[in-house]
């Protein structure tokens, strides 16, 4: 029998891949921390890095402290949390469905979540800083993803999922506009139109507290089943035969995505395409293993959103650019590029 090995005798199996992944995670973490610091340094009021650090540590003038701690810090924290959960959701959905085009926004989840939140706002049911908003958004997101997977069926191909996702987002979008029309508050339509574009501007710690618990729970749910996505790469039947309850896993992932995306949308509006792009950026670095892609994708999502949110503050403009607009401007061409790469599979209608 031929037994060859390219490993050093004292190195455990897979050592090279593992250290490469660890290196990527470390580098991404450093990048996210740096971007977060940069995010704290950028704003309408110019503050030197030293002033920012002082203010962060509770030193220096009161105004500087308020600007950094109460205005910029919650914004940076939300960018990290929302970006991370979007990246994680994208990676988890791609793993669950074994489909590189899967992502929350292509499934209409943010659009549906927006509808849930808009319903609460337009009907004037609650303060926009109350838990009613994320809860409504989460429920709507759950229903939409559940309906989508139910319609598309098991082992659905890319084309089917994208078509069903388009239908779900169109429906959610139309329902949102209808609710806007029925609103009692005359400013609601305008407010909602702005809010739908997605923005992190002037969010406070109240917003952070509103979204973060749900994002953490959703993230933990998605991350907790990471090894199951790997088994799913052999197909649903094989995964089932390995002892994974695939039906329950699906519900679990849908719930996790709904919690994370719903809570995010409730405080930031819909910020698209982070979930689609982040896993693709990480695959060349850490490999395709869906179980090992989650953490890097979360970091990439956080980095992407932080960078986009810094960019909207740096690009000179007369009125503020919405960060959701920027992520879509980057994300949609990327999506088209993916379609070109997967064209054969898509036009064949096969998975």
């Amino acid at each position: 029998m031929r037994v060859t090995t390219n490993q050093q005798p004292d190195q455990p199996i897979g050592f090279a891949a593992r250290s490469r992944r660890a290196g990527t995670v470390l580098a991404m973490t450093v990048l996210v921390v740096l971007l977060m610091l940069a995010s704290l340094g950028v704003g309408a009021v110019e503050l030197s890095p030293l002033t920012v650090i002082d203010a962060l540590l509770g030193r220096g003038g009161e105004i500087e402290q308020v600007i950094v701690q109460d205005i910029r810090l919650p914004r940076a924290i939300l960018a990290v949390a929302v970006g991370a959960i979007l990246g994680l959701s994208g990676a988890a959905l791609q793993g669950l469905l074994r489909n590189p085009l899967a992502s929350p926004e292509l499934f209409g989840a943010p659009q549906a979540a927006a509808f849930g939140a808009v319903l609460v706002i337009a009907l004037g049911l609650a303060d926009v800083r109350s838990y009613a908003l994320p809860v409504a958004a989460i429920i709507a997101a759950f229903i939409s993803v559940f309906a989508l997977l139910a319609v598309a069926g098991r082992n659905a191909g890319m084309l089917l999922l994208i078509l069903a996702g388009l239908a779900v987002s169109s429906l959610a979008g139309a329902a949102t506009v209808l609710v806007m029309n029925l609103a009692s508050n005359p400013y609601v339509a305008l407010e909602i139109a702005f809010w739908m574009l997605g923005s992190l501007e002037d969010r406070s710690f109240r917003h952070v507290m509103l979204a973060l618990p749900f994002i953490l729970v959703g993230g933990a749910m998605l991350f907790g089943r990471r090894h199951a996505y790997r088994a799913l790469s052999l197909g649903e039947e094989t995964a089932q035969s390995l002892g994974i309850d695939v039906g329950r896993l699906r519900l679990w992932v849908i719930a996790g995505v709904a919690l994370g995306v719903g809570a995010s949308v409730a405080v930031t509006g819909s910020i698209g395409f982070i979930g689609l792009v982040a896993p693709h950026l990480m695959r060349p670095l850490v490999g395709q293993d869906p179980g090992r892609l989650l953490l890097p994708s979360a970091l990439a999502g956080a980095g992407l959103l932080l960078a986009a949110d810094i960019a909207v503050r740096l690009i000179p403009s007369t009125s503020d650019i919405k960060v959701g607009v920027l992520t879509s401007l980057i994300g949609v061409p990327f999506f088209l590029y993916l379609i070109i790469r997967k064209r054969r599979a898509l036009s064949g209608g096969a998975a």
Partner: protein, 280 residues
Amino acid sequence: MNAAALRALALLGALLAAGAALAAERPSVASTNVCTDQMVMTLSDAAQIKGLSPYSRDPSQSWLAAEAHRFKRLSGGAEDLMMLRPDLVVSGSYDKRATREMLQQQGVKVVTFNVMPDSLDEVKQQIRKMAALLGHPDRAELEVARLDAAIARARAAVAPRALRVLPLWRRGWVSGQGSLISLLFAEVGLINAASDLGVASGGYASLEAIVKSKPDLILVADGADYAEDEGTALLLHPALQRFYPATKRIVIPERLTVCGGVMLADALDLLVAELTRIAR
């Protein structure tokens, strides 16, 4: 309600009774703007009013929202106006031009009012112009007298130190020079802090810039701790709350400051009252 207003009302009642015979000759009127709505309701007889604008019953914008329920609410389009055939349609200068032109083609008399007057004198002029159109020129003098009285009270209450006040609306919109708010500020000796933010006639200001420029007070439309949308949530942002708790916020409802009309008298009285509250 103060004594002056009571007197005005009594006089109005007497005039109404006397003028009932003349009412048939006075033009019927429809209003397509929430600001002209207010003038129409204060200056005309109820029988003259054929319809009011869609927002006439919205308490956040319409000063006389409660009274507006007595009248027909228009759709905002030209169709129901044509069916009603009023002798006169009064509208705001920023209303839909197409609707106005269509009405004029149909032979309806349309008179446009500047809903963003440049001075309190222009406000008075507009009141007189409207009253004349409606056939009640005498009523204009009552309203103008009310406004003048409020202006006099405000001038009497001018504080020794000129406070810098930032009029801040939803989404961080700041009213600058030339706004009605600025006109009112001038009467009570306040300085509009918008210019410190580089805002001329009006524009959005960032939270950071507001905190940095640190005006003495802010003026908001709503004093409640309730955010019905993200636009109002901005005004309740902790960074603003920290520097501008309720004791640093002048609260004047939007319905008193969005239109150039007699409600500015109420706005001035309220402004003085709020400044007194804050000074305590």
